[in-house]
Amino acid sequence: MSLVLVSHSKALAEGLRDMVVQVAGESVHVAVAGGTADGRLGTNAEAIVDTLRASLADGPDGVLVLLDLGSAWLSVEMALEELSDTERARIVVSEAPLVEGAVLAAVQASVGGTLAEVAAAAAGAASMSKAPGGSSNA
């Protein structure tokens, strides 16, 4: 079971990977596709295809993709079109907010969760409080 983090920023994706691995442990496979081919901010369908294929090859259990926003989804969609039906069948794209979703997914993956279980854990991020038990002046 692998996670693929897709972001407009390579630094953001790699920083999040560091954080996720620290919380969930080294046993979780986390790959990133961040930034354009020439190092600018943006997403890159080709890099996403390569990252997805490498992650699928990592193990039999499939890949959960988490993405930041806007055109990240367009690039992921383009990347998925490049893949075969068999490859696509082992990939789930999460709608979860990137940071919370990645952490929840990684911890679920670290305890041996299946792709469906890991995707469900990530989905929980949508209702997660930033300040549980806290107060807000917003």
Binding site: Q22, V23, A24, G25, V103, L104, V107, Q108, S110, V111, G112, A121, G124, A125, M128, S129, P132, G133, G134
Partner: protein, 94 residues
Amino acid sequence: MPEIRMTVVDEAGLHARPAARFVQAASRFASRIVIRNGEHEADAKSLISLLGLAVRLSSVITVAAEGSDAEAALASLATELSPYVTPIPGNTIS
């Protein structure tokens, strides 16, 4: 349902890393394991559930387990999570 009480000794409370350790330790057991903080209860095998408990430094939490390996689960949790929590002696209820 055996349970143990623990004091949270991590300065930041039960934040992401210790909560993840709880989930990983609890998931190795078949028993249903819950953590109570005051009137709130969370599934010890669910990170989002644990983070929602908002456990702070010095909070006294109760870990309760139900199932065939409940006693072993509690013993293991108390040992493995010692950097973050301190079991309260004499408060083990079987």
